[in-house]
Symmetry: C2
Subunit: 425 residues, 2 copies
């Protein structure tokens, strides 16, 4: 077997390739550990993985192969960020400061803040401007270990602007080392021009946007912000059923602010994921478990909004719901590109063990954004997307918080990030 | 006026040099903003600061001067970490995972964890081993923008090992670009050999350790862990009065876990700072305000320990207590070197505005560790310790969380950190 890439001398290689996908319950703690591991790849795909001597015996290494010496540290699959709004026109730090000062949502909106300010700026921005912001966001994600990211539209809220968003997301996927999964989120909010005719906007999404997005083949998933004051359960059901009929799999922003029946809807629709879930009801948890819907938890958003009640991660895991983690990277409520701080919050605030947090940021996140055939585990046939850490124990990732513990990042068998900062002292 | 260093083209220069030190109440929001600012220095000290045209007109730049173009972004004083335990023998991620799993403090201690495990490892470690860990910790601090750090002893808990700690701390201060303030914390915990004779250990600190530390001139401050189950108010008073008599200024770990009267003692002793204060009583807050004791808040510790009740920052500020921030960098309860994540937590969890958080991480932190004559503000005569950020608005520092927004770090007029990661893509 030929190989053009070899990573060797991992102190511990965590393959995550050790059971059915997605991982639930106690299986979330199985990390598929191989001490002294190695990974060989050819043309970006893994051709051998396991103990170094077995891998080396299996492959015939090209003369000009890339060989990475992990020097005895921890190696894991690349991290997967399964819920982001990473294509936006501008950041909103002014509004963040107003929120800290106790200004109300209404005051912030009146002063030109809130999601409507993101929509205004987005509609005015050119594709090139959006591409530039998106590139910079993805490049920072990569440097913190993320090799796959789901990105949602949803700041356009018109057919033209939503298509612009999805074209930018698609272009980023083509040109950037981070693998990108596009999600259509026309039902993110009601735009001003439809504010007095909400069902009319839902009809518009169903009759015009979904067919246009589907015809252009620009989205794998369709998401809806199903929440009190935004899209009702009935409106969400209509959008997601139409999207599924047009070839897009359903996802939901569910029960973030109120127990609203959104998780129950996710179960009914057998959605790929229900995300946020801070206020999910017990019935909602059971519905997710029964239907095998993945809970994508976003603890950075809870922290960033200054709230103290987090999603019930332990209850979800105990009830058998597969749990994934994501940054929710967006300018309004969670401005971060780092899955590492999310894993720290998962252990510190959601009480997920470091092993559960890692499974939730790799194999289960791959499932949550429909990329489980390609990434999230290190096994033959999967992509050679790897993180070489500065530490030798996966428990150090959530423990050693607020800093970047990534040493090298490999995407498709190519070293795309190699931290080599200029150290004057 | 000659200059061998010039930083020019700051979009906004925040000098923090705009009022009495430490900063209290509404004055914590004054950042001394200079649009289009510049800073000139000679032999490490600022010789001119203000609008670029004025600075340039004032100084005569050496031919081989270092000139840094800030390219229109935000420039602030170097960050100051006023409470750390950054010299330790090893990390404790295993124990972190046990705590997440709900194991009790007793179970963790029985399995070889807890502060006693740090003490055992510390006593066994050589000065060279400790120096290596300390260097790596300080170097990471520097890359996240910290140019001054207080470091406590307190993992030795014997005269010999406490002196070893303070020698290592002193050596780090001599050799590293981060300025180091040494604090003696022999009263961090009761070591095993004194566990049945606690007053005897207090006598030992007073009669043997303090004289030895004082004779060697190794500590600027003396700190005590004044807390239920650790050092009583009376024991703390005895230690701190003896330390003051020997030339060390008092600091306290105060009311972290219970309202214990430690803040009241800090007020009585006119300590330099009272730190933690999660459970401080109303009387304690008034005592701090009346005596002008600085409250050093450590929100990373609260998060890292999985707790949801944070120190009452708003009440402290409203009552006129000067507030500083710090990482509490230590292997047991707060493993981070980044003051940026602490500033994020200050805004998100303590409800401090971004401006208050910046003042608390610069000018007030300088005061909290007794370095206000040298650092914390950008004015003539102070050290040229600067951070050049990636952002142009200070509100972005807490807002854009979990990542490193530092572009360049200048310590004493020397560029000691210049982020220039190898970007393959």
């Amino acid at each position: 077997m030929r190989a053009d890439f070899l990573l060797r001398n991992a102190g511990e290689l965590l393959t995550l390739a050790c059971g059915p996908v997605p991982r639930t319950g106690a299986a979330m703690r199985d990390l598929g550990s191989v001490p002294g591991g190695a990974v060989a790849a050819h043309h970006g795909s893994i051709v051998a993985v396991g103990r170094e001597r077995d891998v080396v015996a299996t492959v015939e290494l090209d003369d000009d192969a890339t060989v990475v010496d992990a020097k005895g540290v921890l190696v894991t699959p690349g991290l997967i960020d399964s819920h982001t709004h990473a294509v936006f026109a501008r950041t909103r730090e002014r509004e963040f400061a107003m929120r800290v000062e106790g200004r109300s949502y209404e005051e912030i909106a009146e002063s030109g803040g809130g999601i409507r300010s993101s929509v205004r700026a987005f509609r005015e921005a050119s594709e090139d401007e959006l591409l530039e912001v998106g590139r910079s966001t993805l490049t920072r994600m990569l440097s913190y270990g993320t090799t796959t990211a789901e990105i949602k539209s949803g700041y356009g809220l018109s057919t033209e602007s939503e298509l612009k968003a999805l074209r930018v997301i698609g272009k980023l996927g083509e040109e950037h080392a981070v693998r990108v999964v596009p999600t259509f989120l026309g039902a993110h909010e009601f735009p001003d021009e439809w504010r007095d005719n909400r069902d009319g906007y839902v009809d518009h999404i169903i009759e015009e946007m979904i067919p246009a997005v589907s015809a252009a083949g620009l989205a794998r998933f369709c998401d809806v912000f199903c929440e009190k004051g935004v899209f009702s359960v009935e409106q969400s059901r209509r959008v997601l059923e139409a999207a599924r009929a047009a070839g897009m799999e359903p996802k939901l922003h569910a029960d973030e602010l109120h127990p609203f029946g959104a998780a129950e809807l996710a179960g009914e629709l057998r959605a790929r994921s229900a995300d946020h879930l801070v206020c999910v009801s017990d019935d909602g948890v059971r519905a997710l478990a029964a239907a095998g819907v993945t809970a994508v938890l976003l603890p950075g958003t809870t922290l960033s909004l200054g709230k103290s009640a987090y999603a019930p991660a332990r209850k979800l895991i105990e009830e058998g719901v597969p749990v994934a983690l994501a940054t929710d990277c967006n300018p309004g409520s969670s401005m971060t590109e780092s899955m590492q701080i999310i894993m720290s919050l998962a252990s510190m605030a959601l009480r997920m063990t470091p092993a559960e947090a890692l499974a939730a940021a790799t194999v289960n996140a791959a499932w949550a954004c429909g990329t489980e055939d390609v990434v999230g585990m290190l096994e033959v046939g999967k992509a050679a997307d790897l993180v070489v850490w500065e530490v030798d124990d996966h428990r150090a990732i959530p423990y050693h918080y607020g800093v970047n513990l990534v040493r090298k990042v490999v995407a498709g068998g190519v070293v795309v990030r190699d931290r080599d900062e200029t150290l004057v002292v």
